[in-house]
Symmetry: D2
Amino acid sequence: MYEELLNSLLKGELSLHRLDSLVGDSNKATYLRREYLERKLNLKLEKIASSILDFNEVIGRNCENTIGAVQVPLGVAGPLLVRGEYAKGEYYVPLATTEGALVASINRGCKAITLSGGASATKVISDYMARAPVFKLGSLEDALKFVKWVKDNFQLIKEVAESTTRYGRLLSIKPYLIGRYVWLRMLFSTGDAMGMNMVTIASQKAVELMEREFPGVKCVSLSGNMCVDKKPAFLNELEGRGKSVISEALVKEDVVREVLKASPEAIVEVNIVKNLLGSARAGSLSFNAHFANIIAAVFLATGQDLAQVVESSMGYTWVELRGGDLYVSVTLPSLEVGTVGGGTRLPTQREALEIMGCYGPGDPPGSNARKFAEIVASAVLAGELSLLAALSAGHLARAHERLGRGKA
Amino acid sequence: MYEELLNSLLKGELSLHRLDSLVGDSNKATYLRREYLERKLNLKLEKIASSILDFNEVIGRNCENTIGAVQVPLGVAGPLLVRGEYAKGEYYVPLATTEGALVASINRGCKAITLSGGASATKVISDYMARAPVFKLGSLEDALKFVKWVKDNFQLIKEVAESTTRYGRLLSIKPYLIGRYVWLRMLFSTGDAMGMNMVTIASQKAVELMEREFPGVKCVSLSGNMCVDKKPAFLNELEGRGKSVISEALVKEDVVREVLKASPEAIVEVNIVKNLLGSARAGSLSFNAHFANIIAAVFLATGQDLAQVVESSMGYTWVELRGGDLYVSVTLPSLEVGTVGGGTRLPTQREALEIMGCYGPGDPPGSNARKFAEIVASAVLAGELSLLAALSAGHLARAHERLGRGKA
Amino acid sequence: MYEELLNSLLKGELSLHRLDSLVGDSNKATYLRREYLERKLNLKLEKIASSILDFNEVIGRNCENTIGAVQVPLGVAGPLLVRGEYAKGEYYVPLATTEGALVASINRGCKAITLSGGASATKVISDYMARAPVFKLGSLEDALKFVKWVKDNFQLIKEVAESTTRYGRLLSIKPYLIGRYVWLRMLFSTGDAMGMNMVTIASQKAVELMEREFPGVKCVSLSGNMCVDKKPAFLNELEGRGKSVISEALVKEDVVREVLKASPEAIVEVNIVKNLLGSARAGSLSFNAHFANIIAAVFLATGQDLAQVVESSMGYTWVELRGGDLYVSVTLPSLEVGTVGGGTRLPTQREALEIMGCYGPGDPPGSNARKFAEIVASAVLAGELSLLAALSAGHLARAHERLGRGKA
Amino acid sequence: MYEELLNSLLKGELSLHRLDSLVGDSNKATYLRREYLERKLNLKLEKIASSILDFNEVIGRNCENTIGAVQVPLGVAGPLLVRGEYAKGEYYVPLATTEGALVASINRGCKAITLSGGASATKVISDYMARAPVFKLGSLEDALKFVKWVKDNFQLIKEVAESTTRYGRLLSIKPYLIGRYVWLRMLFSTGDAMGMNMVTIASQKAVELMEREFPGVKCVSLSGNMCVDKKPAFLNELEGRGKSVISEALVKEDVVREVLKASPEAIVEVNIVKNLLGSARAGSLSFNAHFANIIAAVFLATGQDLAQVVESSMGYTWVELRGGDLYVSVTLPSLEVGTVGGGTRLPTQREALEIMGCYGPGDPPGSNARKFAEIVASAVLAGELSLLAALSAGHLARAHERLGRGKA
C-alpha cells in the first residue's frame, strides 16, 4: 500500500497533505512524505528522520505536511539570580541557537548580575493579548455611532467573546479611525497562554455579534494590523502587547572590571552612542543592542511563536553610573510568551520550560507565564550587559573569531 | 571522575562552561551538564538528551554550555513553481514551526501560484551585508576630515578589510554624522554566507587601520546600530541589507475562487485596508500580513540566524486586479540568508537546504544564497496570498479552531 | 537721548532687549533697535518699519527684541460648505502664503466639495492638550510606587494643577516607563485656547506637588518629549493631541470631471500609490499629499503657533470610488489650534478669525476652537482633493510654471 | 463699475478669482474681494487692508485671491558669532513669531555661544533638492529594465531636465521599488533657490521623456511621496534634502552658569533623558527639544516655505561635558532654504534676509543659500542650548508666566 501511495505521489495524483487521513497515522504519513521527497529529489533525509516526535500529536496542532524534525543545539546560561514578583531565586535559562558565542556571552552577563546580587527588580507592568479587526461603515457619522454602540454594549460583547474560552477575559476595546474605517483593538487577559489563538476565536465571535446587531457594519478583516502581530510597530511599543516587562540591576564596579573586563564609563558611552544615537539615526524603533538574540534563543528553546520575536525584541536599554557601580535596565514593552499551548507541549520544549519551573498552567492562572516573562527579561538584561561590555572593550570581533559566527 | 565533576558542579566549585576542556569531549560535557541540571533541579531531560548532534562539532561553532537539543516539527510546502534568476522550477519548501495551520496555509498559497504558472518573476535586486562602527572625533571639522580620509583611502581600507576573508569584498562605505560622531556603514559582498561574522572581523581590521592612521579618531563601538542587525529600522528598509528581493505572480481568477475560496476584489480590499492603512495607523514599518511567519519557519528549518527574522521580515505586500486575475507581489528589502556557515552545517538544517538544492557554496560564489533567497521570497508570496484570501473570506478563526493556534 | 542710546548700542555697551524698560515704550524701543541695525549694518529696513502693530501690546506677549513686522499676502478660499457639529454653513478660509498656486488649488477643491453638497461630515473626535514631564526615581520599584501614588492622588493633583487656570481641566495622566524613569503624560481640556502655555504652568504646579509629597522623586525636565510638542511622533498620531478631526465628502462624478478635470479612478490610484505606498516606502508618518501646505497657510493667517505645523499636519488621506462618485476623507489626529490667546489677538490675525466667525472664546468654552478645527479640517480636505486631482491628470508642473513656485 | 462687480459677487454670479483679469489690477481686485467679504459677512477688515504689498507683484507669484496681508511681529536675536564656511562673523537673526519668550530665549543662547567664541564650526555637508515621481510598469521584469534604462540614459535625462532651468543640475537618480512600481528620486542642485518649483518642472520634462522613450511605462504621479516634501520621513533624515547642516559650539562652564543659569551636568542629563530617551519612547523621528520653533520663526521672517518647517525641523541635538565645559551640536539633515525666488522677494522678507547679508543670488551660485543655512543652523544651536538650560534649571514655566505663551 505504501508503494502505491508513493507512486501516486510521484505521479502527481495525490497531495502530500492528504496522507494523514488516508493512512490514518501521521507517523506513517510523515514517513511517506519523507520517502517521497527522497525518491523524487534523489537525496537522503536521515537526520530529519531521526526524531522523537510523535506526529500524531503534532498534526492538527503544531505543524502539517510533516517530514520529520529539525534539531537545534540547546545550551544553558546561569545561574541567574532573579528578584521578580513571581520568579524568585536562581535560574538556568535554556537557549537554543546556532550562533556561536551567544550562550557564552549571556552566561557571562548572568554571572555579573548574580555576583552583584541579582536582577534587583523585574516586573511585569502590563499583561494582555490584542486582536484588532477592522470595519467599514457607510460614513463617518455611522463610524462614530458604531464606536458608541461598541462602548455602550461592552458587557454584551464581553460575554459573547468570553463564551469561546475558559481563560480569556475581554479587558477593554480601544477604537482607532481613518475616515469611515474603524479598528477595534480588543485586549484580553489570557491566563498562562500566549493567547493569540484564543483571542482570535473570541474576537471572531465578537465580530459576528457586531455584524449581526449593528446595521451596515462590515468587518473587512479579522486582523486589521493594529493588533499588531508579528510586525514591528510603535503602537505595541507605546501600548504594550503580551507582557510589558522591566528588569534592572546594579552591577558592582569590580564585577564590571573583573567579570566583564570593561569599565563602567565605557559601557555607558557605548549604550548612549550605539543604542540611543545610533538607533535614532537609523530610524529604528528598537533602542537596544541585541534583545532579539536572547529572545530568539529562549523562544526556540521553549516552544514560543518564533515569528513573534519581531515585536517581543523591541525595547530600550538604559545604563548609567551610580557611584562607581553600573546601573542597567531593560524595558520590553511587548514580550509575548506563554507556558501552555502552542509549542510548549512538545517534548523538548516542555523540558526546557521545566528547567525554569515554568511549564504548564500557574496558580493563579497567568502566574506561570509572568514568572517566565520575568526570567526572560532578566536574561535579556544579562545579554545586553555582556555585549555592551564586549563592544566597549573592543572584544566583539575577537569573540567571533574564536567562537563561530556573529551577533549584534 | 564524572561523579567528582558533578559534585564540584553541585557544590558550585566548577562552572558549566569549563567542562568541555576539562573532559576533552563535548558530548561528555553535554551529558554532564544535563546530568547536573537533572540532579540539581530534580527533573528529567530525556527528550532533550535524545539528539543526533555531535557536540564536538557544535561547541566552538554554534552553541556553548550545551545540554542537548531542541526538536521542532518540520513540514514542507509545495511544489512551488519559481521563476527566478537562479531558482528555476518546482521546489518543496521546508518549514519548521510549532504553529498549527501555518504550513497548510502556505501550502495552499503554493498551489495557487503553481497552478497559475508560478511566481512569474523573482529577483534579488541588491545583495550585501553591512557593519557600521561608530567613531568619535574631536570636533565637527575633524569628523569631516575623517570622512574625507576614509573616502580617499578606500582602496587601502578595502585591502586591509579583505585580508581577513576569502569571500568578503568591501563594496562601499557610507558615512552618517551626528555632530562629531561618525558612523561608517561598510557594505560587503559575502559570497554564499549570510556574512555577519565575516563582516564583523573584516570591519574590525578596518577600524584598527583607521585608529592607527588617522590621528585622534576613536572607535566607540564596532557596531553602532546603523548596521542594522536584529533591530527593525527604516535604514535597512530603504538601503537594504542581505538580499533585497521581489517576487510577483499573476493568479488566475478561477484559481483564486477555487483554490483560495475567495474573490480577487475582496483580497485587494483586505490588502489595502489591513496591510497599508492598518500598518500606517499602527506606526509599523512592515506593510504586510505575516512575512515573519514564513521567514521564521524557513530560517529555523535551514539554520539561519533566527534573531534576523526581525529585519528579514520587513516589507511590502501589494495586490491589485488585472483583468479578473489577481496580481500580487512581495518586496523584502532586507532578507539575510546564507547557504554556508552558521547553522547551515548542522545535520538536519543541511538536509533541509538540500531539499531545495541550496546547501553549500554556489558556483559562482553567491549564486546558491541568491537561489535560496528567491525561493524564500516566493514562499513568502505564497504565505501572504493565502492568509489574505483567508481573511477576506472570514476563514481565519475557523482555521485556528481546527488547527492549533494562531498567526497573523 | 535716542542718539545716546544708539551710541551705547553701537559701542556694544547696551543690549537690545534692555531698551523696552529703558525707554518705557516698546514702539520707541522697536524704532531704536531698527535704527541701530540700519546704522550698524548700513541698510534700510523701511518695509519692516511699516507696520500697524502696537509693540506695547506685543512685547511681553508675542515677541521680544522687535524691530517691526513681516507682511505676508493673505488670500481666501471659498465658499466652502462645512457640515460639522459646530461649523455649519459656507465659509471663506483665510490663507497666508508666499507659495504661488496654493490658494488657487485649495479654492478649486472648495468649489468641488461645495458643489457636491459640502464636507458631508466633519467631527472633532477628541480634544485635549498634553504636557509630559519626565521623572527619575531611585529604582524600578520606586518608579512603580510613584506611578501608583499618582494614580491614587489624581484628585489632589488635579486640584493643584487647575488652581493655576480658569479654563484648564486635568482629564487624565498616563504613565510611560523606561527603567526607573517615568513620563507622566498629563492631558488637559483647555477651552478655546490651544493651551500649551496654560498646560505648562499647570503641569509645573503638579510637578512641584509631586516633588514635595513623594520622597525621592526628581523631575528631570518639565517637558520630557512625550508631550509631543513640535516634533513628529507616532504617539500623537495614535493618542491625539489638540483636536483629532475627521472630514469627509462625497464628490460627484461630474464635478470631479468638470471642476477637477480628472477621473475618479485616477485620483484613487494616486492616493494609494503616492500617499499610502510612497509614504510607507519613505518611512514617513504622514500618509497624505500636502496637509502641511493648508495647515501652514491657515495657521499663519490666524495667529496659531507655526512650529506646531509639524504635528498638526500629520494624518491620513483616503479616497475610494462609491458608485461613480468619489468618496474622500482626511483624518488629522493632532490639530493644535485655538481662538483665544497667543497670536490670535494680533490685529490682522484677529480679523482673519472673524472672517470665519471664530475669533475669541466660544459659548460653551471650547466650542469656538472646535468650530475652527472643523473648518480647518474641511479646508485640508479641499486641498488634498485638488492636489490629488492635479497629480492624477498630470497638471502639477503646469500649474507651477504658470503660478510661482511649488508645493507637494 | 466696482459696485456692479460687488453686486455680481454678492449674487454669486462671479467668482473672486476672476476679478484680477476683469479689472486688470490686482490691487483693485484685492480691494474688491475684501470689500465683498466685509459686506457679505458684515465685518471690518481694516487691519488686513493696511498693507505695503503691491498685489500686482504678488498675484501669479505668491498668492491668489488676495484680500490684504497678515502682519507678524519681527524680532532679532544676536549678535551670534558664526564660524561657517560661508557665514563668518557676527549676525543678527530675524525671527517672526507670535510666541512670547521665544526670541528672548534664542537671544540668550546667542549670547552664550558668542561669549564662548562662537559656533565653532558650522558646515553644510550635502545640498540638493529632490523630486520623486512614481511609475507603474507591466511587471517586475519591466520595472528592472526601466531602472536599467534610466541608468543607461542618465546623460540624456539630465540634458532634457536641465533644459528647463538656468541653475538646476541633475546630480543623480536613485530608484526604489515595490513590486512593479518604481520611484525615481531625482536629486538636483538648485543654486540659491530652495528649488522645489525648478525641480518639479525639470522632473516633469524628464518624466515626459521617459514615457515617450520607454514603452509601457506610466507615471502615476509626478510626486510619489519619496521626495519627501512637507511630510516627516526617515528617508529625508537618512539621505538629506535641501541642506544637511551641522553646527557645534563649546560653551564655557562659567558662561553656562552665569548666562544660562544652569549647570553643564544638568543640561547633559536633560538632553539624554528628554531628547534621546523621550523621543525614542514617543516614536518620534526628531531627537531635539524645539528645532521647529527656531526654524518656523526664521522661515516666516525670510519668506521660506512654511510647510517645509515639517522636515526642516527634524534632527538631533547632542550635548556632552568636555572638561568642565559644555560641548553642544545640532544636526539638521533636511534644511530647505533659499535666498532667491518664492517669498524671499517680498518687501519685508527681503529686508530680513538683508539683515544677514543673505538676500539674492550668491557668487558662486548657491553660496548665499549655504551661508543662510549656516546661520539658521547656528540659531537653532542657540535655541536648543537655551531651552535645555531653562528646562534643566526648572525655569520653563516661569518664563511662560512672565512672557506670553509656550514653547517646547
